[in-house]
């Protein structure tokens, strides 16, 4: 019984960490589906979102919920501007140019955050910090639960947005066929920038949800590398897949940290990623089947 409770605890913690990976991966996938670019700076955008929330809540003393919403909006606006000003210029350049461009942007964001907020870890008080919820024998941190609940809620909102609203359907249309979307009168370029905005907003949500569990610091963007594992497991192009992949990576990582000797936990996500590429490169939820000539 003791063991089962222990295992369940690990699984819940892993699922919470996995939801964060899943949210970052969701950002990759949204952008990849629409523009066939991969944003290597996604983790750093999450870091920026976390810092903006920290400024608003800890410095300007805003209420947690107001501050969080405002931080998400600011980060989303930043994502919009990023696409409209920089990324739009490299459309048509080879894919690896975009990889390097976003990687370089990530370095710049990290330095910018270092100048703006310093290189120390910071945190702010949330309604969930240091509180626990007891379910039967299980003692769970509310911070971990808040991540899982927040992720589920966000996914619900995104699902409704993409399937029910006019703009969401327009986004789906432009991801599927740009030219046809143009002909139907959809402003494809603005829509792409809006997708970048949503993706940045999702990253900000991840940063804010993560803040009670781990501190915000400049190097938190390296979580993005683990999120790649999540995205690849999901098939790089499937939104539910990225979340499932994230949870898988998170749980495997927690279990590896508990059952394997020290040092294995940090490489688990990478090993899972490589194993996935060798065994089933198209991912669990394959959507892309071939190439257009």
């Amino acid at each position: 019984m003791e063991d089962a409770a222990r295992l369940l605890q690990l699984v819940v913690n892993g699922a919470a960490a996995g939801c964060i990976y899943g949210l970052i991966a969701l950002g990759f996938v949204l952008i990849y589906k629409a523009t066939e670019m991969v944003n290597f700076a996604q983790g750093d955008i999450m870091m920026l979102g976390g810092f903006v929330a920290y400024s608003l809540i800890a410095h300007y003393g805003l209420n947690y919920w107001v501050g969080a919403l405002l931080a998400i909006a600011i980060t989303a606006a930043f994502g919009f501007a990023l696409d409209a000003v920089i990324l739009r210029r490299v459309i048509g350049q080879p894919q690896f140019a975009v990889v390097m461009l976003t990687l370089g942007l990530g370095f710049i964001f990290r330095a910018g955050a270092g100048i703006g907020w310093g290189y120390d870890s910071v945190g702010f008080n949330t309604p969930f910090t240091n509180k626990t919820a007891t379910i039967g024998q299980l003692v769970l941190g509310q911070d971990n639960l808040s991540i899982i609940v927040g992720t589920v809620l966000l996914c619900g909102v995104l699902y409704v947005f993409f399937s029910k609203t006019r703009l969401g359907v327009a986004m789906q249309a432009s991801s599927q066929n740009q030219l046809a979307a143009y002909y139907m009168g959809i402003p494809v370029r603005t829509v792409f920038s809006l997708i970048w905005a949503i993706s940045a907003g999702v990253a900000a949500v991840a940063g804010i949800l993560l803040s009670p569990v781990s501190m915000i610091d400049v190097n938190m963007g390296f979580l993005g590398i683990k999120a790649f594992a999540a995205a690849v497991i999901g098939g790089f192009g499937s939104i539910p897949g990225s979340l499932v992949g994230g949870v898988v990576v998170g749980i495997v990582e927690q279990l590896a940290g508990y059952y394997l000797p020290a040092g294995f936990q940090e490489v688990t996500s990478n090993v899972v990623l490589l194993a996935m590429l060798i065994l089933r490169p198209q991912g669990l939820f394959a959507e892309l089947s071939g190439k257009r000539v």
Binding site: T35, E36, V38, I86, R89, V90, I91, G92, Q93, P94, Q95, F96, A97, V99, M100, L101, L103, G104, L105, G106, F107, I108, R110, A111, G112, G114, I115, Y119, Q176, N177, Q178, V218, I225, F228, A229, V232, F236, G263, E266, V267, S269, N270, V271, L273, L274, L277, I278, P281, Q282, L288, S289, G290, K291, R292, V293
Partner: protein, 358 residues
Amino acid sequence: MRYLFRTEYRQDTSLARHGGDFFWYGLLLVAMIVIPMLMGEFYVGELGGVFIFAIAGVGLMLLVGYTGLISLGHAAFLGIGAYVNSVLLAKGVPFVITLPVAGLFTAACGAAIGLPTLRMSGLYLAIATLAFGSIVGTVFQKWTSVTGGFDGFPVPTPTILGFGLDGATGIYYVSLVVLIFVLWVTANILRSPMGRAMVAIRDSEVSAQSMGINLARYKALAFALSAGMTGLAGALFAHYVRFLAPDAFDVLLSVQFVTIVFVGGLGSLHGAIFGAIFVRLLPQFIAIVRDDLPFGIGRLPGLEPSLFGLVLVLVILFQPGGINGLWLKLKHWFTAYPFKRQTSSRRQKSYAKSERLR
């Protein structure tokens, strides 16, 4: 302007296009041979570092500039080459054997990682190599019985035919020879059907495949060759730093290698050399001007990586040809003088290419 007339069949297969090439490259070679006799130990060492980075840069150029794939894990290959070379040397194997073995072993590692990941689009290679680099970095740290972990690994002094290569000058000459060898191999590969196949893959995978090119084979071959050359560079790098620390081979170093290729100019061997010079000189330049910068910019801890990031972004946005592209424009201005026009170097309008099928 120079007009080339073909008068002999031999001209078609010669590496040098005309007499001027022989003259200028010969002059450069003589200068490189003479330099250690004229300059101080420090400058010779730095120039040796440039050669080592140029070797890795040529390897990466073959992959990124000619095959159109990107690797974010070349620091790991540099590390593998460095450790294989040093561990074998410490076991008493002569340097003449450890150097090629380091290259071949790294190439085998490259093939092993390339074969499974290259079945998918080139994007997966970037992600897989990023993961691979981080795994290899952890292995260097944890496998203390071989690598010494964080205590480091002192690199033994190599000897060639009884001569000990202990100073910067010895490594300088060995690096120069290896660099020339690597350039010669790459230039020849690029003229062969294999090189043509790689360029075809870069320009369009679909049309390359429809011409009967085995995509997975050539991509894996390019990746293995690239890794092997980086392994050679790693073996020399071990002697350049003389003391191996496992955390030297991190993502930042991989990004520096890719910066070599992008800043130098994609798709040209000259670019790999220009890029290596730039990447090696930038930290030196920062060190010199650090104290004179306004607003305390020089004291920021993340200055170097962010400058690399900034340069990368600016080059991709405004000068996709890199330093080599600038040089070609300058040369064109002189050779065509006074007929240079605004439109001579205008970029072609490019459109988004989709790789999807739906």
